[in-house]
């Protein structure tokens, strides 16, 4: 029976040879993860289940990233719960501050997820690892607690929507613009329960960092997972990175899809999501270039080296507009160090940017750059629902690192050609 890559990975982790969308299956989990806000509840559930030990000390990752370095007493207590649990249960992949970073940045960076893996995380942006050709989906803390105990979970096999991007990318258009465009097309419920499979010749030329960006935001369309078939770009990324055994799977040529959407990439301009929804997407040329109080570059969506390089190229020799705060957070200590070595951090500091320690920061209104009443921010993050980054009467616009860097200099939303 012909199958999509998502169906193949699910089948390989269940006791079935082949699957159909709609099938309810039980699967083995290769990697289960949680962060400092979802782990405490998951740990409580694990303890209520009364198991003496976790199912596998090497298949669980616990990452403090949302409210660290500890934002306040309550957050410190949550991290303490996670730390003590990790030590008690000998969790191999627990990251202390100093080696920790944003979960969806450090796990692939450290080779903890490989093509063909089945990853379940207590965080909605767990879908990020689909960029590697893994099946990766978000769940809540109770599900994660049960998985830590048993190593298994139940899933319904999703229908797949295939998106075929063909054509040359325009100037300043990258992965972030492609996914924003897709969200504008599908809407926040256009892919509920579905697998989003990204393909086409544009995609085959896309770097891994930009694939992470796209897979990361699959959940904003309601998708269960986002996925790229692994190819030479994937193999090159994985070279020497992991001791785990990878499985390079592809969708069968005649696999059945719920629908196939063809997108002519040459028609896509730089995109911006307006408040208050990630599907409220317009081309930059269609919007009013609002004045900005803050610009943020970072997060699990765009906190990687390529994103910082892009920002640095645009900010070099330029200054952030007076009255606009530019905050930049590298997604991991490794990325931060490389950025220093490449002179990126110096360039960013010279332009007037504030550099933060690797963490989620202001993305979800945690810390490191919260908005006051009436303030407007442009960011490389993934959600802009009401109150997302601070005061309920603040506004968040979403865009690529290139647009964000240029906008920081302009003091309003714009692109690098306007500099």
């Amino acid at each position: 029976m012909t199958m999509t890559i998502t169906e193949k990975i699910l089948a390989a982790h269940s006791d079935k040879n082949s699957l159909c969308p709609g099938d309810l299956i039980e699967v083995d989990v290769d990697m289960a993860l949680a962060n400092d806000i979802t782990a405490p509840l998951a740990i409580k559930v694990f303890e209520e289940l009364g198991r003496a030990q976790v199912f596998d000390t090497e298949k669980i990752a616990l990452v403090p990233d949302h409210f660290v370095p500890n934002k306040d007493i309550e957050s410190a207590q949550q991290v303490k719960i996670m730390t003590e649990f990790a030590r008690r249960h000998h969790i191999k992949h627990y990251f202390e501050l100093g080696e920790s970073g944003i979960e969806h940045v450090i796990l692939p960076e450290k080779g903890l997820v490989v093509p063909g893996d089945l990853v379940i995380g207590a965080d909605s942006h767990t879908c990020t690892y689909g960029a590697l050709g893994a099946f990766s989906a978000g769940v809540g803390s109770t599900d994660l607690g049960v998985i830590m105990a048993t190593g298994r979970t139940w899933l319904k096999v999703p229908e797949t929507i295939k998106l075929v991007f063909d054509g040359q990318l325009r100037r300043w258009v990258g992965g972030k613009d492609l996914i924003l465009f897709t969200l504008g097309l599908l809407g926040v419920e256009g892919a509920v329960y579905k697998a989003l499979e990204f393909s086409g010749n544009t995609i085959s030329r896309l770097s891994m960092d930009q694939r992470f960006t796209m897979a990361n935001m699959a959940v904003e369309a309601g998708a269960k997972n986002g996925i790229f078939e692994p190819d030479s770009v994937t193999r090159s990324y994985m070279e020497g990175r992991s001791v785990k055994k990878a499985s390079y799977l592809r969708s069968d040529p005649d696999a059945r899809y719920e629908k196939v959407i063809n997108i002519d990439t040459t028609l896509i301009e730089p995109q911006v999501a307006l408040p208050h929804s990630p599907d409220n997407v317009y081309a930059l040329s269609e919007i009013v270039p609002v004045k900005l109080d803050q610009v943020f570059i970072g997060s699990c969506t765009n906190g990687r080296l390529e994103d910082l390089r892009e920002a640095s190229r645009i900010l070099k020799g330029r200054s952030v507009s007076r009255g606009t705060r530019l905050i930049i957070i590298p997604g991991s200590p490794g990325i931060y160090k490389r950025a220093i070595q490449e002179g990126i951090i110096e360039t960013l500091l010279d332009s007037g940017a504030v550099i933060g320690p690797p963490c989620c920061g202001p993305c979800l209104g945690g810390h490191m750059g919260i908005l006051a009443e009436g303030e407007k921010a442009l960011s490389t993050t993934n959600r802009n629902f009401l109150g997302r980054m601070g005061h309920p009467k603040s506004e968040v616009y979403l865009a690529s690192p290139a647009l964000c860097a240029a906008s920081a200099v302009l003091g309003r939303i714009g692109d690098p050609d306007q500099l």
């Binding site: 806000i37 979802t38 405490p40 509840l41 409580k44 559930v45 209520e48 289940l49 009364g50 949302h66 409210f67 934002k71 306040d72 309550e74 957050s75 949550q78 207590a122 965080d123 909605s124 767990t126 978000g138 769940v139 809540g140 803390s141 109770t142 599900d143 607690g145 049960v146 926040v188 419920e189 509920v192 329960y193 309601g222 269960k224 929804s277 979800l364 209104g365 945690g366 959600r383 629902f385 009401l386 109150g387 997302r388 309920p392």
Partner: protein, 164 residues
Amino acid sequence: MKFKGRVWKFGHHVDTDLIIPARFLNVSELGVLAKNCFADLRPNFAKDVEPGDIIVAGTNFGCGSSREHAPLAIKAAGISLIIADSFARIFYRNAFNIGLPILEMENAGDSFKEGDLLKVDLMTGEIQCLNNKRKFSAKPIPPFMQEIISAGGVVNHIRGKEAR
């Protein structure tokens, strides 16, 4: 399982940042989550909800984050049931896992209004609006999920099965 309660009406795409803003995610205590449920959208909600009240909403209820704090806050605030056109997938799983009953009903958002009094049968999906005597049909939830709800959540359900 049968319910009777007063309707709190919401729109489409009610996201998890509205249900429980991130600044309250540094705690897991139900009392704190309950007090801050819908803090930015409807500041009086937590104060005025009475145990047994029902939330009615449009499509894609609970979209956004995986935070289990969202259904936990709603349940702790006193809501006994959510009826919506549709639910976001992580919220759907989380609600069952913590024992918060939910029902999917086409045009739920258009069928009821704020303050309506409803009688609901979770097993059959039958909903009766006591204000106008009209009857509606929601999609009944599958039997194994009814067991999870009756047990009060998936942890109790698993422990109950292990005990037998």
